[in-house]
């Protein structure tokens, strides 16, 4: 049991869970939350991108994978993040 608690994967899981709660909390935000809010959208998208990066890097073990795979997965994430931010923050 202690070995599992000390395992880096468990730390990654704890971090993923904590930032999930933070992103939910951000989204509840002011006024009960159902107002257009660019800062909330940006914060939520940044946390989502961080979570995806952690899952790819530690759970999918991309950190030990060949460079082409590291670059492809990170490139996909960055491109997606930029497009989502671009369109997500563009509305009037």
């Amino acid at each position: 049991m202690n070995a599992y608690l000390r395992n880096p994967l468990t730390y990654v899981w704890a971090l993923l869970t904590v930032v999930t709660v933070i992103s939910w909390w951000i989204s509840q935000g002011a006024d009960g939350g159902f107002q257009t809010n660019r800062m909330v959208t940006l914060g939520v998208l940044m946390i989502a991108a961080l979570k995806v990066h952690l899952v790819m890097r530690y759970f999918m073990e991309v950190r030990r994978a060949p460079t082409w795979l590291k670059r492809t997965t990170f490139g996909w994430l960055m491109l997606l993040f930029c497009l989502l931010c671009g369109f997500g923050l563009a509305y009037a």
Binding site: L9, T17, V21, S23, T36, E61, R64, L84, G88
Partner: protein, 202 residues
């Protein structure tokens, strides 16, 4: 204990340091499938965001009908399931098949909660007449979460095969276990984005 991969490449240690650096985790063919899937879902995500920009009011109003609690629970369920798959993969690599079987079994049980919660979420909505035809938001919602649910169900079948492989083989078939694992983590990863886009952004 030296465990070998399908390529008969000796692994450096048994501490979960895994596939030697520079080798693709799992089967390379699974990675091509995953990258294709990520690309397809990426296009859906961007389309959703474009339409959201054009109909911000409608999307916000529709988001009110989603159950944040179920969305959060399903996120934690999949993250936890992913953790147990990753721990199970490490255990298998260290030659501890019984422990790996237990861990992947827990992962399977967590994963099996996801479709149940999905039904708990969908059925009252459908009962209240909120169908994919309701509006653009719900068309995207049912289409994308439905497509993801199919991935979850396939992932559970794959985890079932991983469990069977762990139980039956004297030495774990690491390539197969890793391949099943990375598929399951991809399912988790896609949900993280769906959760953010449908439930959380404003």
């Amino acid at each position: 204990m030296a465990i070998t991969t399908a390529d008969a490449e000796p692994l450096p240690d048994t501490n979960g340091n895994t596939t030697a650096p520079g080798l693709v985790p799992g089967e390379a063919s699974m990675w091509f499938f995953i990258l294709g899937d990520l690309l397809i879902f990426g296009v859906y995500f961007v389309c959703y965001m474009v339409y959201r920009g054009e109909h911000a009011g409608l999307f916000l109003q529709s988001q009110r009908h989603l159950d944040q609690g179920i969305g959060m629970s399903n996120t934690v369920v999949l993250l936890t399931s992913s953790l147990f798959v990753a721990l199970g993969t490490e255990a298998a690599r260290a030659g501890k098949a019984a422990r790996a079987t237990r861990l992947v079994g827990i992962a399977f049980a967590c994963g099996a909660v996801f479709p149940i919660l999905k039904l708990v979420e969908w059925l009252p909505k459908l009962g209240a007449g909120i169908t994919p035809g309701e509006n653009l938001f719900f068309m995207f919602y049912y289409l994308m979460t439905g497509l993801h649910l199919v991935h979850v169900l396939l992932g559970l079948v794959i985890l079932g095969f991983v469990l069977r492989s762990l139980r039956s083989a004297s030495t774990p078939n690491m390539k197969f276990i890793e391949t099943g694992g990375i598929y399951w983590h991809m399912v988790d990863l896609l949900w993280l984005l769906l959760f953010a886009l449908f439930y959380l952004i404003r």
